[in-house]
Every structure is written in structure tokens, then in C-alpha cells.
């Protein structure tokens, strides 16, 4: 009634209705591809590579949010390195615990045969080549350059096991 009386006109702003790009599956796959290419280590004799699931989750969380790199660095350098290092990790914790989109992407990549779950690790599956292709294309086309810079910065920060536990 009040709105009717005021002759207010509703205005649609499509830009305000658009979801954040951070929830796009292709965007997230690209980030996983870039991180896996950089951080996964050789495993076994079959030319497989693997990465800790928890480490990948933490790395991708920071890669999407470069302003958290400094707090991760402080946390890594601090004496209180464990998962209870609340003073340093508090900024990262906010949002990290509710970041389920990453788990959904990993589930999809596992279902596609790109990854295989092995306890706490993700191992390259039979279609893992697809991920390598994506990572290569990103570098060749200079796409997500700022993201790649963040990943390079993250590679300089040692992540202790204790930082990946107890989340």
C-alpha cells in the first residue's frame, strides 16, 4: 500500500542478480588444474601424481582470495602453527569451513575419472590429462594471470601438516 501510494517504480538491476563467478564450475576447475599442476607430487611407478585433499582445499581457497596470502604467510611463519593457531588463521577460517563448492568440484572430477580418491589424497585418474591440458592452455593464453601469480606466491609458503589438520 505504501509503495503503491508513493508511485515507486521497481527497477531490475541484472548485475545485482548475477551470482558471483566464484561459483562457476569452469572457473573452479581451472583453479584446481593450475594448483594440481604446481603442487602435485609424483607417486608410484605408473607416472601418477597426487596431492593431499586438505592441502588442495586450503590452496584453492587462498588462490580465490589473494588478500589472505599474507595471513597464511604469517600463520606459516608463526610459532603456533597448528590448526588451533587462531590468531593467524581466523581470517582464513571465516568462509573456509563452509566452502562446499570445492568438494562438489572434486566430486565431479572424481566422477569424470580425472581424480581418484586414495584416503586423504587425490591421485591422477585415467582422464587426468584433461586437467594438464587446461593448465597448459591457461599458461599459453595468459588467462587468470593474477591467479597464477598468487599460486606462485603460495609455492613459497611452507604449509605444515598441522595447518591442514583439525578443520
Amino acid at each position: 500500500m505504501l509503495l503503491e501510494g508513493s508511485k515507486a517504480t521497481p527497477v531490475m538491476m541484472p548485475s545485482r542478480l548475477a551470482p558471483s563467478a566464484i561459483y562457476d564450475v569452469e572457473y573452479r576447475t581451472v583453479v584446481v588444474a593450475l594448483l594440481f599442476e604446481r603442487f602435485a607430487k609424483s607417486f608410484g611407478l605408473g607416472g601418477h601424481r597426487r596431492i593431499s585433499s586438505a592441502k588442495l582445499k586450503l590452496l584453492q581457497f587462498i588462490a580465490f582470495r589473494p588478500w589472505l596470502v599474507s595471513s597464511i604467510r604469517e600463520w606459516s611463519q608463526g610459532e603456533e602453527q597448528g590448526s588451533l593457531g587462531l590468531t593467524q588463521s581466523i581470517r582464513s577460517r571465516r568462509g573456509f569451513l563452509s566452502d562446499t563448492a570445492h568438494e562438489d568440484v572434486i566430486n565431479l572430477l572424481v566422477a569424470c575419472g580425472i581424480f581418484v580418491r586414495a584416503k586423504s589424497h587425490l591421485i591422477t585418474g585415467e582422464k587426468a590429462g584433461e586437467l594438464a591440458k587446461i593448465s597448459k592452455a591457461m599458461k599459453e593464453q595468459d588467462l587468470f594471470a593474477s591467479m597464477q601469480r598468487v599460486i606462485s606466491e603460495l609455492a613459497e609458503i611452507p604449509l605444515a601438516k598441522s595447518m591442514l589438520e583439525g578443520w
Binding site: 548475477a18 563467478a21 576447475t29 588444474a33 589473494p66 588467462l143 591467479m147
Partner: protein
């Protein structure tokens, strides 16, 4: 106005000399020969001789655009042979009978040079070698275009560029209006106009030049320069705004002095009030009154110190001085707290801005990824059952490029807001720093006074010391206020200078009203040609609705003519525009060279109906009786040629398989003869 009298290509091959010549008369001529005859060589030869390489995006002095037959291998009498040397020559003639033969090497010679043979009706020929491209206009003695413009009595005119420096109008800026190229020329009016020289609004300027509308052209250039000057003025206004606001913040004053809006808006706003008045009104700072007050106070303190009696019972001096120092310390503490808060907020804002930049950049890359498909998982399927996997089952969504673009738009709006917030916080920081500096200075004075008073013995000396300290502080304050007043005066002088500059610039950009009627004549001619050429949207009864906008773009009923009619009307519009411009220039004494070359107009719409429309146009009085030269290079069937000739259209039908033929005694010459005669056996056919 001039005519193109002859095009000749000649050279030497391993199999012997070769040559091809086309000669033209005035008015309309159709040169009809089958495909691969070599018409294009003759047409392109004209642009090569005129040094129009840049028009086609070719490297300077590179004849790559010309057929291989004159650059590499030539087929003569059924045998291929290597071309050793070749060149092209054109002959121009004006109405006084002055002739110009322009020759330029294609291969086996110096392509940078144009040889010009200048002949007066009764004089001896004069031959010059000129530079075709580099400094062609600037080189007073050796530049080909410089010479040609003088020979044509064309004025040299400089046009502003987006780079800030002026550039001349070159022949390649004018040629797209009278040379319609087969490959690219028919797609739009002035499709071959070049933009890489950076001249602003060069398409409109080229039309005005050929119409000879020099007053309109000068006004146009003045407007462009005024617009460039306006951009510079806006820039300098912004600098004044920043300098002024920094100065104000340094003193802890807040005034509204912005450089937003147009130059005229800023002039209006800035000339309404003087800076001192604004300062008084908005920041309650009256520097004159403050200076007078301080002078009075200094006098009062001096009197108190030198002649006035001292109350020996007053013991308050140490308390007053001490209290003042305490107050100032409190004030500084509060200000430091504020500064700390502002700095923290500013830091957070910068982090937020960085993160937004990162997100915008990543989202832009995501749009690229969506649009190009680079780096996407092509096919998601289960490796066991090979069924397609839908990401939505996993709670995931793949957004469209449009959605991501909308998200980028939202982030940009957020970024703008944050930038404004950052600017406001930066201003607060500057003000807080300035206030702290001011309080610090007062505190230093107060502490000095406190030390002096506490070191004095007895109430009299304490009072004297206090008064002396106050006098000293007041004198320093007067110095500061005087300095601030000087700064305000300097700023006001900058503002006044800016206003004066801006006023003269605004006056120069006044609107030009064309009283010569050249534009109107062009519109009238354009309507006639559109109707005659059979443009499907322009009929006899509706032609009066065709108008030209400020940029000489044809409009009809508020819509661009380019968007009206059918796709086949595009080439008719281009033809009508070029011919109407030549006709108008001839009528109003413009600077048009006097010839229009149209290469393969029929290939643009090869179906019969469109061919017939164009052929009909060629039989109309408007086309045949024009006072300028129209050369149409095309291929017509025998019935079409017969029909045209019957209706009085001159059609040249060169004989032989190819334009270039071995030289025996004299090269074959294809020349028009009027009235039409049957073709001579073995020689070129002329009609």
C-alpha cells in the same frame, strides 16, 4: 577538374617486351572485359601511380597488391616467362589542357620514386622525380603529394589527431570518395578511409574538402581543436582541484571545489565566487579578519609586556600555561586516535580494492574462457558407463558469459563506490595529519612557555615570561596565516588564469552555420542518384526524406540509410554517394578531382535484376551527361553491351585474351570513339 586520360602498364620479360594501354575520354565510360583479362591491373595501376599504398593497408612502396603478372611471371602467347622489369603510368589532364604523366616502377626499378612529366599546352615538358610515400607531403621539393596538391591547386590543411599533434589531409584520405575498390570499396561509404594516421573525423572532413566547403571545414577543425583543448582544460582543472584540496586538507579546512562537469560548467561555477569567500562561507575561515585579530593581539601583548602594570598578586600564570599544554596533549591524543582509525580503514579499503581488481580480472578471463572455449573440459562423462555427467547433479553450475559479464558490471559499480570511499578516507587522513601538525606546533609553543614560566621566580617574572611566550606564539601564528593567505592568492591566480583560458576556448567552439548551400546541393544530388540507381528504400516520392547528418551520413526518417532497403542496396548507396559528391563538387566549384572510378560494381549483386538496375542507370541522362568522368570497370554480356550502346552509353571492349600483350611494333591501344563504331578486326573494340 581533371580527367584520367590514359593508363599504361609496360615492361620487359624474358620472352620480350609487353604492354597494355587504356585511353579514356570525358563523361561516362564502361570498360567491359571478361574476368582475368587484367582490368584490375589497370584499375590498381591508377592507385599505384598515385602512391595510395596506405589506403589498402600495404607496406609503403610494396606493389604486392598488383597482380603477379607484373611482379613475377607473365603468360605471353601461351608461355610463362619471368618479368624482368615493369612499370605503370597514368596521364591526367585538366580543363586548361595541362597534362601530367605519372610513372612508377613496379618491379626492377625504384618503387619509392614517382616520375612526373608535366606538360603545359604550349610549353616544353618538365620531368621530375619525386618521393611517392615518405614525407610525400612534407618534402617541399621532393614530395609527390606536395607537388600533386599544388598542381591541382588543392589547399594543404592540417587536421587535429587523437595523438595531440596535427596531421595533414593526404590523397589517401580523399581517394576513398572517388575510387571504389573491387575488394573492399563497396562495403560502406568510404570503406577504405584510413584511420591509422589518427586524424579526427577524417571521413566528414574529406567530404567537406571535396565539396570545397572550406569555411565549414575550418569551423569543423576549430571545433575539433576546441574539443581537444576542452580535454586539456578538464585535465588542468582536475590538477587545480587536487592541488587546492591538498592545500585545504593541509590546513585542516574543508571546502567544496570540484572540477566535475563540462568546461563551461566549471567556468560558471569557479567564476561565481572567489576562493577566499568560499573559504569563509564553507570553512568559516576569514584570513583577513584572522590577520587583523592576530595583529591586534600582538600589539596588546607587546603593550602588556612593555608599558602596562603587572598585578603582583596574580599567581595563575603557571597554572594557565600548564593547563593549555594538557588541553593540547588531549587534543593530539584524540586526533592520533582518529588518524589511526582512518589509516586502518584506508588499509582495509585498499585490500578490498585489490581483491575486487583481482576478482574483476579473473571474471574477465572467465568470460574469455566462455567465449573462446579455451581451457574448458570438453566432454564430461563417466569413465565406466560413458554416460554424460551433468554438473548440476553435483550442485555445480556453469554460468553463461552474459551472467559473468553482469557480475563484472556489479563489481565495477562496487569498485567505483570503494574508490570514492578511499578518496574520502585519504582526505580525512590528510586533514587529521594537518590538524596534528598544527596541534603539535601549538603544543611545542605551550611546552616552551611552560618551561620558561616554571623557570621564572616570583609572580611578576612568571607573568612576564607567560606574556612573552604568548607574544612569540602569536607572531608565529601570524606568519602561518600570512603564508596561508599567500597560498590562497596563488591558487586564486591559477584559477583566474584557467578561467580566462577556458573562456577563450569556449568562444572558439561556436557553432558554424553553412550559408553556402553546398551541403544542401549534395543532399539534392544524392537523392537523384539514389533514385536513379534504384535504391529500394528511396523512391521518387520519398527521396526528399533523405537527409545528411552532421557527419555527412545519409539518414531517412531518422534511420541510417545503410540500415534501410535490402543488402544489395549497399553498393547502390556507395555508388550514389560517390557520384553525387562528384556532381555536387562540379556544380559548386569544389575540390573533387573530377573522376570517379568504380571497379566491378556488378559483382556486388550478380543476379540479373540487380545487373539490369545498374545497366538501366548507365543509360540514364544523369549518368551519361555528367560533367565529370565516370569509369566503370566490369564485365557485360554481348546483349547488355548492345543495349547500352544503342542507348548512347560508351562501352570499351578491349580485344585479346589479356590486357598485357607482347609488344610488336606499337602497343594495342583501347580508346573510345564517339559515335560507336563496329570493332576493327585484330585491334581493340571500342564503343
Amino acid at each position: 577538374m581533371i580527367q584520367l586520360k590514359k593508363v599504361e602498364v609496360r615492361g620487359k620479360s624474358e620472352a620480350g617486351d609487353f604492354s597494355g594501354v587504356l585511353e579514356f575520354a570525358g563523361g561516362l565510360q564502361v570498360i567491359s572485359a571478361k574476368n582475368a583479362y587484367g582490368k584490375s591491373l589497370a584499375v590498381k595501376g591508377v592507385t599505384w601511380c598515385l602512391g595510395l599504398d596506405a589506403m589498402f593497408g600495404n607496406a609503403e612502396n610494396d606493389p604486392i597488391r598488383l597482380p603477379e603478372a607484373v611482379r613475377e611471371d607473365l603468360e605471353l602467347a601461351g608461355h610463362k616467362s619471368r618479368v624482368l622489369k615493369s612499370e605503370c603510368a597514368i596521364t591526367l589532364e585538366d580543363e586548361k589542357g595541362r597534362r601530367l604523366e605519372i610513372t612508377r616502377a613496379i618491379t626492377g626499378g625504384d618503387t619509392r620514386i614517382v616520375e612526373v612529366k608535366e606538360t603545359e599546352p604550349k610549353g616544353t615538358p618538365r620531368v621530375s622525380k619525386l618521393v611517392a610515400r615518405r614525407a610525400t607531403m612534407q618534402d617541399q621539393y621532393g614530395g609527390f603529394q606536395r607537388f600533386l596538391f599544388e598542381w591541382m591547386a588543392w589547399p594543404r590543411i592540417e587536421v587535429p589527431t587523437f595523438r595531440g599533434q596535427d596531421a595533414e589531409i593526404y590523397l589517401e584520405n580523399l581517394a576513398p570518395l572517388f575510387y571504389i575498390d573491387q575488394d573492399e570499396g563497396w562495403t560502406n561509404i568510404q570503406a577504405l578511409q584510413i584511420s591509422r594516421y589518427g586524424q579526427l573525423e577524417i571521413s566528414e572532413i574529406a567530404v567537406e574538402y571535396l565539396l570545397g566547403a572550406m569555411d565549414a571545414l575550418k569551423a569543423h577543425i576549430a571545433r575539433l581543436k576546441a574539443s581537444q583543448r576542452a580535454a586539456e582544460l578538464k585535465e588542468s582543472a582536475k590538477e587545480i582541484e587536487v592541488q587546492l584540496n591538498d592545500e585545504m586538507a593541509r590546513h585542516g579546512w574543508h571546502v567544496e571545489w570540484s572540477s566535475h562537469g563540462s568546461v563551461a560548467d566549471i567556468v560558471k561555477r569557479w567564476s561565481k565566487e572567489k576562493l577566499r569567500d568560499v573559504l569563509q562561507k564553507e570553512a568559516s575561515v576569514d584570513l583577513d579578519a584572522r590577520q587583523v585579530d592576530l595583529a591586534k593581539r600582538i600589539n596588546g601583548l607587546r603593550t602588556a609586556l612593555t608599558t602596562e602594570p603587572i598585578d603582583v598578586n596574580n599567581v595563575n600564570a603557571p597554572v594557565e600555561v600548564s593547563q593549555k599544554a594538557i588541553e593540547l596533549k588531549k587534543q593530539r591524543h584524540v586526533l592520533n586516535q582518529d588518524l589511526s582509525t582512518f589509516n586502518a580503514q584506508l588499509k582495509e579499503t585498499r585490500i578490498l580494492l585489490d581483491s575486487l581488481e583481482h576478482r574483476i580480472q579473473a571474471a574477465r578471463d572467465l568470460v574469455r574462457l566462455k567465449n573462446t572455449g579455451v581451457g574448458r573440459l570438453d566432454h564430461l562423462e563417466c569413465p565406466t558407463c560413458h554416460r554424460d555427467l551433468n554438473p548440476e547433479i553435483f550442485g555445480l553450475t556453469s554460468q553463461s558469459a552474459e551472467t559473468v559479464e553482469a557480475h563484472i558490471e556489479a563489481m565495477r559499480s562496487d569498485r567505483d563506490l570503494i574508490i570514492r570511499n578511499q578518496e574520502a578516507l585519504s582526505a580525512n587522513v590528510k586533514t587529521a595529519v594537518a590538524s596534528i601538525a598544527h596541534v603539535d606546533s601549538e603544543l611545542r609553543d605551550a611546552e616552551k612557555a611552560l618551561r620558561t614560566v616554571t623557570s621564572a621566580v616570583g609572580p611578576v617574572r612568571e607573568q612576564i615570561a607567560n606574556t612573552a611566550a604568548e607574544l612569540s606564539a602569536a607572531e608565529r601564528e601570524l606568519d602561518r596565516v600570512s603564508e596561508a593567505a599567500k597560498e590562497i592568492e596563488d591558487l586564486q591566480a591559477s584559477i583566474d588564469r584557467w578561467i580566462e583560458d577556458a573562456r577563450s576556448s569556449v568562444a572558439a567552439a561556436e557553432e558554424f552555420i553553412d550559408k553556402t548551400g553546398k551541403r544542401d546541393a549534395f543532399v539534392v544530388a544524392l537523392r537523384k542518384y539514389l533514385v536513379a540507381l534504384g535504391h529500394s528504400a528511396v523512391k521518387e516520392g520519398t527521396a526528399k526524406e533523405v537527409m545528411l547528418d552532421e557527419q555527412y551520413v545519409p539518414f531517412m526518417n531518422g534511420r541510417r540509410l545503410r540500415a534501410l532497403g535490402s543488402a544489395s542496396d549497399q553498393s547502390r548507396l556507395v555508388a550514389a554517394y560517390s557520384l553525387a559528391l562528384a556532381a555536387t563538387a562540379q556544380q559548386v566549384g569544389g575540390k573533387h578531382p573530377g573522376f570517379v572510378i568504380m571497379d566491378e560494381p556488378l559483382q556486388q549483386n550478380p543476379d540479373k535484376r540487380h545487373r539490369d538496375l545498374f545497366a538501366d542507370f548507365l543509360t540514364k541522362e544523369l549518368a551519361q551527361k555528367s560533367k565529370f568522368q565516370t569509369l566503370v570497370f566490369t564485365w557485360l554480356g554481348d546483349p547488355e553491351i548492345a543495349k547500352l550502346r544503342k542507348q548512347g552509353t560508351v562501352v570499351l571492349t578491349p580485344s585479346g585474351e589479356h590486357f598485357l600483350q607482347p609488344v610488336k611494333t606499337t602497343p594495342p591501344v583501347i580508346a573510345p570513339t564517339v559515335p560507336p563504331v563496329p570493332p576493327a578486326s585484330g585491334g581493340p573494340k571500342a564503343g
